[in-house]
């Protein structure tokens, strides 16, 4: 009887089919012949990606500059100086219930505050002008009962401005707080229904910017996925199976998507222009990195013909993304 070692050694004499060997060689030759002759220069897309991010940052920083610089230099006046002769140019207000705080008065300085609204209707301005000139000071007030409702910045044509915080007390008239002097006022009884006019003014103007923002955030990625689906079906571009991805790709993608998710949640909970900037930058990096890793995969696993198809498909996706950025900026503006 032969020993186990000898028998194992005999396994090595297993014969490989010469036909299969030849066939494999032909397939190998074919793959090698179809290898791209010139090296893909990845500095180009990386530079493009960086340029997009820098452009977004520059654009948003520019947009985030004060709306009316001269008005900033104007000293804020106490509300007691507001008379019926003051001609209001516009009223800025921050939509309830977002960002009701002293800091929200800074909102007037930026177009990027999506919750920032403007009243420019002459009739409404004149009505408010009448109310703000008929105020009486409230001496005794229980601050714990006050519920913040709106932050108002009244801007006159002569560039003077007044900052008012409006509080609502259930069942009672609104309380106006002059942020300059920190004194509390009420509209005089004989002036009529200030609260009703205020509510009408505030709620008639629905803030549609947030609606478009959510539309973009939801619709555009869906559109990208739809195009991806159609392109993969019609052009026979191979989909990238998740199993074939390298762990490195998966981890980087996961990290990017987690950061994006946190940014979106943060944006929803605490809106600030800088959040849009961060969101767009991270979104750019996430999308471009996805394209990059998909491209690397295609380049490593498929021939030049498929690579060309994929390039076209990739370009369409990049165009969609850039369009999305443009739309977002237009809406914000």
């Amino acid at each position: 009887m032969e020993r186990l070692d000898d028998k194992l050694q005999k396994l090595n004499t297993i014969k490989r089919s010469q036909q299969e060997k030849l066939h494999t060689f032909e397939k190998l030759s074919d793959r090698i012949d179809r290898l791209p002759t010139r090296k893909i220069n990845w500095q180009v897309p990386v530079v493009l990606a960086s340029t997009v991010v820098i452009c977004i940052i520059v654009l948003l920083t520019t947009l985030n500059s004060p709306l009316q610089k001269p008005s900033l230099t104007t000293a804020t006046e106490p509300i007691t100086n507001f008379t019926s002769t003051v001609e209001l140019k516009r009223i800025y207000y921050v939509d309830w219930p977002n960002n009701i705080s002293f800091d929200s008065f800074l909102a007037r300085a930026s177009k990027l505050y999506l919750d920032m609204n403007i009243i420019e209707d002459k009739q409404q301005l004149s009505t408010f002008s009448y109310y703000f000139s008929h105020l009486k000071e409230v001496q005794h007030i229980n601050k714990s009962e006050l519920e913040p409702f709106n932050d108002f910045v009244l801007t006159a044509k002569d560039r003077r401005e007044w900052r008012i915080k409006i509080y609502k007390i259930p069942g009672e008239s609104s309380i106006l707080r002059d942020m300059q002097t920190n004194r509390y006022f009420q509209v005089k009884d004989e002036t009529g229904n200030f609260d009703e006019k205020l509510l009408n003014a505030v709620f008639v103007q629905k803030n549609i910017k947030e609606f478009y923002l959510s539309l973009i955030v939801n619709v555009i990625p869906s559109l990208v996925f739809l195009i991806q689906y159609i392109a993969i079906r019609n052009t026979y571009i191979p989909a990238i199976p998740k199993l074939q991805r390298k762990n490195r790709d998966r981890i980087i993608q996961l990290v990017i998507w987690i950061i994006s998710l946190f940014t979106i949640i943060f944006l929803a909970l605490y809106y600030h222009p800088i959040n849009i900037l961060v969101l767009l930058s991270i979104l750019t990096l996430a999308i471009l990195s996805k394209f990059y890793f998909d491209w690397i995969f295609i380049r490593e696993h498929h021939d030049i013909k498929l690579q060309q198809k994929y390039k076209l498909y990739l370009s369409i996706q990049i165009i969609i993304y850039l369009l999305m950025i443009c739309m977002l900026i237009v809406i914000i503006h």
């Binding site: 396994l11 090595n12 060997k21």
Partner: protein
């Protein structure tokens, strides 16, 4: 394809194929991975620094592909027992050939039931006949570990053979 690379394929592809075949237990997959090994070798040929023999370098690429395969698929594909006729030993009579083929089938069936590291050790040490030092260099581990693994792998193989009812002395 360049002529030297063609020669490289002709010379070494059988050895690479056998190594992959014993590791993945599937003819078609072994052919595919052999192709992939040489394709990767072609692309990375500039990185080959002659520090190891070219067969070792090729086999290391093949090994990475095999492990990648298992890592990605996370399943073991079993080869149908159709390889009996592929076995060759010209020195044997027809009766001996039949017996040997049967024994080899049993041995192969047992081998594919082993853990991947045990199977690899047996393939390298017993089937390909590498020395302990060569195996250790290829696996990038110590010689002691190779020896230890070999003992364990053989014990595991014997156990599988016994469990399959082949403890009649033919596989001592």
């Amino acid at each position: 394809m360049q002529e030297p690379f063609k020669q490289l394929y002709i010379l070494h592809s059988d050895g690479i194929y056998k190594y992959i075949f014993f590791m993945v237990n599937n003819k078609e997959l072994a052919e595919d991975l052999t192709q992939e090994t040489f394709f990767k070798a072609f692309k990375q040929f500039q990185t080959f620094r002659n520090e190891a023999a070219i067969i070792t370098w090729l086999k290391r690429i093949a090994r990475n592909l095999v492990y990648d395969y298992y890592r990605k698929k996370r399943l073991i594909q079993f080869l149908p027992l159709t390889f009996k006729m592929e076995y060759q030993d010209d020195t044997q009579t027809p009766v001996e050939l039949l017996e040997t083929a049967e024994e080899m089938a049993v041995l192969y069936g047992a081998l594919r039931k082993l853990k991947l590291n045990h199977r690899e050790t047996i393939v390298l040490r017993k089937i390909e006949g590498l020395s302990v030092k060569e195996t250790a260099q290829f696996l990038e581990c110590t010689e002691a570990k190779v020896k230890n693994n070999t003992v364990r792998a053989i014990a595991a193989l014997k156990k599988v053979l016994q469990e399959g009812g082949h403890d009649d002395g033919a596989f001592r």
